[in-house]
Each structure stands twice: as C-alpha cells, then as structure tokens.
Amino acid sequence: MIKVKDLYYNVENLNLFENADFEIPSNKLTVILGPNGAGKTTMLKLISGIIKPQKGKIISDAKELFYLPQKIKYPQGITLTEYIESYFYKNNWTWFLSKKEKNKINDAISLMELSDKKDVLIDNLSSGELQKANIALGIVSDADVILLDEPTANMDLVNRIKVLKFIKKLTQKGISIVVILHDINLCISYGDWFLGFTKNHKIISGEKENFFTAENLKQIFGIDFRVVKDNEYIQVFN
C-alpha cells in the first residue's frame, strides 16, 4: 500500500499538486489517466523518490521499486539478452551471471514473447519490442512495486492487450503495479483501481464502477463523454 498524504509540489510557480491525497492499493493494477500536462509523470517520479515533494508525505511499504520512465536512452551494440542482464550487475561483483540468473532472464524474455529476438542487437529492435524488453527488465528486477510510464505507447493493439494481460497477471504474484495509460477503454478491462488527474491538477480516485462516470471524465479531460454500462462491461464514447 502506498499512501500519498497532503502532498504539495510546484514547478516554476505552477502548483502541480496541492493537498494531493490518495492511496495505491497493494497487489492491484492501478491505472493513471489524464490529459497531457496534468502531472501524471511527475507523480510517478514523486512516488519513486526521484524527486521530493515540497510538502506532504508518501508512505510506502515497497521493498524494491522499479520505475520505467517514458523516454529511455538505450546502450548501443549489445543484444537484447545482454540489455536485460545489465540489471543483475547491480548487486553482482562477478563478471559473469550464474545459471540461475540466466534462466530467470530467459523466462522473462519468453514471457514477453521476445525469444526469437534474444540475440538481436537492441539497436535493431522496433520501439514496441524495446518497450517489451523494458517490461522484462521490470520483471527480473524482483521489485514489489512497478511504476510504468506509458509502457504500451508504440505498440500495436494486439501487443497492447497482451502486455496489459501480462501486467495484470503479475499482480497475482504480489506485485503492485501503477501504470499511466491513454487508452481508456482498454484500461477499463484490466485496471483494478483508477486515478484521474484533471486539467486543474485535482486527483479523482475510485474503482471501475464509481470512477467511470460521465461527470468524472468531463472533469478529467474537459470534454463530454458518454459512458455505456452493461453489467460489468463499461465502454466510453466521445
């Protein structure tokens, strides 16, 4: 469980968050929605501790946290496997990885369906494949809280669905996941808990049923939406 209490953060005289107050439940897939510039990425950075709030507290019980930024610079001239290997050298003082670690990497790679690209230089991978490689990096990091900033950007529809399904599965293994997404209808099917960042930097949170109302969406995005509910199934139209 991550609790954000009375958080205050401003950038260049712009109050991005004022008394922000919300919770992120454990072992759930939390989705952050909102227009550009609402402060979604900033909030992930605050939660991951990269930047500090001017006031307020973030109480987190995360043992290990993995944060995947939106824009990533990749090293050159190494293969996909070697890229994922990089993370293991954090604690290792040996030059070579153990068999166990190598197996773990192979598992993560096959989970992300990248096995056939294992030995391809990452310079030659497509951006969707690179994103999948980064998620594999998150898997091998052994983190119990994973923050993903638009992990499905650059992916085709099929891969988006696959990745979301996969992320959802991770929550059953005791991993809390927070993800920024822009595809509203897709995230309705997979998210457990939703945070909406409005244009005016307010934060609305709730479960699927309570969160997706025309009123909330209007407040978040500033335009009118039509919400169609059919039992558990919710669809949002403009």
């Binding site: 501790g49 995947l68 990533i72 090293p75 050159q76 001239g77 190494i78 990089s86």
Partner: protein, 327 residues
C-alpha cells in the same frame, strides 16, 4: 557466433599490442634481437643488456601504464557521464594530476610524486563534477567546465615552471607529455600501483554494465547509482594520475581507444576493459617508438606523435562507422 567474432578481434588487438611492445623494446636506433631476452633478465653488463634494462624496459613499461590507464580512465568517465567526449585530458583531470606532481617536485623534491598526482586528479575531478551538477551531467556543461579547469590548471603549471627554472626540465616533461627512463626505483612502486589500479577497475567492470541502463531508470535506486559513480570517478582519477606520473599529460588517447573499442564491442564493458587495455597501451607504445626514432638522435615530444597518429586513425574509424554516434 558473435562471441567468436569478439574473441577474434581481441586476439588481433593482443597481436598488435605485442608487436608494439616488440618495437618499443627491441627496435630503434640500436636494434636488439630477440636473442637478448634471456640475457637481459640476467642483468648482464654488456651495453645491450644495459640499454634494455635501464632504458628500454622501464620506458616500455611506462608507456604501457600510461596508455592503458588513460584508455581505461576515459572509458570510466564516458560510462559515468554517458558522454563520448568525457576524457581525462579534456575535463582537466590530467592537468590536475600534473599540477599535483609539479607541486610535489617543487616542494618536496622526490617524495612519492604519484600521491600528489592522485590528489590533484581527485580534486580536479571533484571540481568538475560539483560545478557541472552531480546528478545530471549536461554534455555541454561538463565539457565547458572541464575545459576551464584544464586551462586553469595548465596555466598554473606553466607559471610554476616559469618561476622555477632550476627544476623546469622535470616539470616540462610532465606538461608536454613524454617518458623518461630514469627513476628505476619508483618503477616498482608504479608497478604495484598499476596492478592495484587494474584490480580495482576489474572489480567495477560489472557495475559499468549496470550503469549503462538509462540514467532515469536507475534513479529509483539513487543510493547505489551515486555510490558506484563516485567510486568509478575516484578510480578514473587514480588511473589518470598513474598515466600522468609515467608519461606526462597526454590528450586524445582517452577518447580514441574507448571509442574504437566501442565500435567493435558495443557497450559490454567486460570486453571493453580488455580492449581498452590493449588498444591504449598499443597506441602509446607505438607513439613512443616513433617519438624515439623518427628524427634520431632528437626526440619528438610524445604528445605530438600521439596526436599525429591518433587523429587520422580516429577520423578514419569515425567516418567508416560514424552511424554508431547518432543519438
């Protein structure tokens, strides 16, 4: 298959290094054959053995130390700052070490110069890092501040040399880059320090493979990242001071060797470590051979030769495989 290709390249580099080592030791104005190898270690008293023992071996050893240390220091700095231009010379670390050594020559006669060199290098690297901003090295800022530190320390060295004509020769050697064979006693200390430097570097190689990940991605592990960064910078400063101690202030090697290595091996620092060790030492060994023999009996300052050989080689590789450097 890729691994085999890399092994072949390493073997070729090793061959080149051995060839340069041969040139540095056995070739020159006085050509010495391989047959002397055995003799030399028996400390014979004939001229050939004397030349080998007191001139060629120490000189080749220092060239080897200078080249490999500069290449490794350059590799460390580029890895930490994620900037292909970061290098001991440009960022003023070399001149910091030079200033330390010059000061120790001036004030303490012949105490262990290298200790001063190390602290000089450390101070200048800290200066550059503090001013350039620790967590986010802006490429331009790092280079500009490094250049300023470099110019500042270099002029301080020139000033000290100018006002101390009696000790100016030793000090000039440090400034212009050059290897002198004398000082056989300190060779042992240098050897010990060089091996120490190599062991420490080897220890941190896996960490470089961790730090190659995106710097923002590593930010959520700030503590570790900063710890490794600081340790690597100290190691780079130490290696730089060794190189300045043995061959004076030399530019360019710290860029050429790591960049050419990167074209062959990508950013796998385990391969890069070996490759830089071989390439850097080859470059200085060969340059020193030219410096020694090109216009015998005069000696060309080593720094000039490095630039003459290094610049065309570097440009050749850049134009051939330049697409490695798109951002």
């Amino acid at each position: 298959m890729i691994k085999n290709k890399k092994l072949i390249i390493i073997t070729i580099l090793l061959g080149i290094m051995l060839l340069c080592l041969y040139l540095a030791i056995y070739a020159g104005h006085k050509d010495l054959g391989f047959s002397l190898v055995k003799k030399a270690f028996n400390t014979g008293n004939d001229t050939d053995s004397l030349i080998l023992n007191f001139l060629r071996y120490p000189r080749a050893f220092k060239a080897f130390v200078a080249g490999s240390c500069l290449a490794l220091a350059g590799m460390f700095m580029q890895a930490v700052s994620k900037n292909p231009l970061a290098e001991p010379y440009i960022t003023g670390i070399s001149s910091g070490a030079g200033l330390g050594i010059v000061l120790s020559v001036l004030l303490f006669n012949s105490v262990n110069y290298s200790v001063f060199g190390f602290f000089g290098a450390l101070i200048s690297s800290l200066l550059v890092i503090v001013f350039a901003g620790f967590s986010r090295f802006s490429i331009t800022k790092l280079i500009l501040i490094g250049l300023s530190v470099n110019i500042f320390f270099s002029s301080l060295i020139s000033l000290i040399i100018l006002v101390n004509p009696l000790k100016s020769y030793t000090m000039m050697l440090i400034l212009s880059g050059g290897i002198s064979a004398n000082g056989a006693v300190s060779d042992k200390i240098l050897l010990i320090m060089f091996i120490t430097g190599l062991i420490i570097s080897g220890l941190f190689i896996p960490k470089l493979n961790y730090l190659r990940l995106d710097s923002e991605l590593l930010e959520s592990n700030k503590g570790r990242k900063y710890l490794y960064t600081v340790m690597l910078i100290i190691t780079a400063a130490f290696l730089t001071s060794l190189s300045v101690f043995s061959a004076g202030i030399l530019g360019f090697v710290g860029i050429i060797a790591p960049q050419i290595s990167r074209m062959f091996f990508g950013q796998d620092y385990r391969w890069l470590f070996v490759s830089n060790l071989l390439l850097g030492s080859s470059l200085i060994l060969f340059s020193d051979y030219i410096a020694r023999t090109a216009i015998f009996p005069l000696q060309i300052p080593l720094g000039f030769v490095v630039a003459f050989i290094g610049a065309p080689v570097f440009i050749y590789f850049l134009t051939r495989k330049g697409d490695m450097f798109r951002d």
